[in-house]
């Protein structure tokens, strides 16, 4: 196990590791025509909070994919406690192990920034049925950062790129998504909102290093709070 930000999320078993957490996920999904007849793929599912919610709430067929065994194990443990079935698959978002036209919806919550974005986008496009939709939550930079600052953020988090809203739209278009709708939400904290609190499902042995990574993350995201934000992208061909 290395000591990267993603390792830290996996070892601490952070559920809802994306801006807005489960609360935003629910909001995004409520705007879509999801029902039992739809097939859903969640890429980079992490501990599986969102996949579990979709399976339980909408009764869809859900496939949850991640490339971290630690995350997948925690997701499987979660899925074993719910009444709906979720399929789990170990795989890489840049080369997804599915046939063309397999899904009605693909969901990606804070995942593509950690991958080769153009490759991942074209994979999603390939897997979607006609009329299918890619729903994403991703980090953006609101104002340009200096090269040094950008490097620092990319290095710490392990982002392949740190894009602006326009940068994302450009890559999505190039990847074959002609219709891209973008929503901007502010980062608002309700400090007492325990209903949507961040769950931890930590592993048995947690190296001290991961607590330092948490600290560094808190520090960086606070320091750059005016420069960094996120967007919701709803994309179809």
């Amino acid at each position: 196990m290395g000591h990267t930000y993603l390792d830290c999320l996996a070892v601490l078993g952070i559920g809802g590791a994306h801006p807005g957490g489960l609360k935003l996920t629910k909001e995004i999904l409520s705007g879509e025509a999801l029902d039992q007849s739809k097939s859903v793929l969640e890429i980079g599912c992490g501990t599986g909070q969102t996949s579990a919610y979709i399976a339980e709430h909408y009764g869809c067929h859900v496939v949850a994919l991640d490339n971290s065994n630690i995350m997948l194990d925690k997701a499987k443990q979660r899925f074993a406690t719910i009444n709906s079935a979720v399929e789990t698959i170990h795989g890489n978002v840049e080369r997804l192990p599915f046939a063309d036209d397999s899904f009605d919806f693909i969901l990606s919550e804070s995942v593509l920034s950690f991958t080769d974005i153009a490759l991942s986008i074209s994979e999603c496009q390939r897997l979607l049925k006609q009329g299918g939709k890619l729903l994403m939550i991703e980090i953006v930079h609101e104002q340009p950062l200096s090269e040094k600052e950008e490097m620092k953020i990319k290095d710490f988090y392990g982002f392949s790129q740190l894009l602006s809203e326009n940068g994302w739209v450009r890559l999505l278009r190039q990847g074959g998504f002609e219709q891209v709708s973008v929503e901007k939400h502010a980062i608002i904290f309700d400090e007492h909102d325990l209903k949507h609190a961040t769950e931890f499902s930590p592993s048995e042995n947690v190296s001290h290093e991961y607590f330092n990574i948490l600290k560094e993350h808190e520090y960086l995201s606070n320091f750059y709070k005016d420069n960094l934000g996120y967007r919701i992208f709803r994309c179809s061909s």
Binding site: L9, I14, G16, A17, H18, P19, S110, S113, I139, Y157, I187, F189, D190, E191, H192, D193, L194, K195, H196, A197, T198, E199, F200, S201, P202, S203, E204, V206, H208, F211, L214, K215, H217, S221, L228, Y230
Partner: protein, 85 residues
């Protein structure tokens, strides 16, 4: 996770609202006010509008920091207003 790890986590998120499940199945809500080597002390949250239907949990050990929960009894923990990319 061990007692030591919960100690670190609670220290790191001092002042934040937390939901703690203990091995006896109870759920506790409150603001982390103090942590020592054996317990974490929570101040009850007055308004329950955002507790999501959970009860208030258990109020033992009134040491001025609110109620104490043995770190060794913690089965699960969730923290409010955390944020991840």
């Amino acid at each position: 996770m061990s007692v030591e790890h919960y100690h670190k986590l609670c220290n790191q998120y001092m002042g934040r609202a937390v939901r703690i499940r203990t091995h006896d199945g109870r759920v506790h809500h409150g603001i982390i006010r103090h942590v020592d080597r054996r317990r974490v002390y929570l101040e009850p949250i007055r308004s329950n509008r955002n507790l999501g239907g959970f009860g208030y949990g258990y109020y033992g050990y009134g040491y001025g920091f609110g109620f104490g929960i043995a770190l060794g009894a913690i089965a699960g923990i969730a923290l409010a207003s955390l944020f991840f990319w």
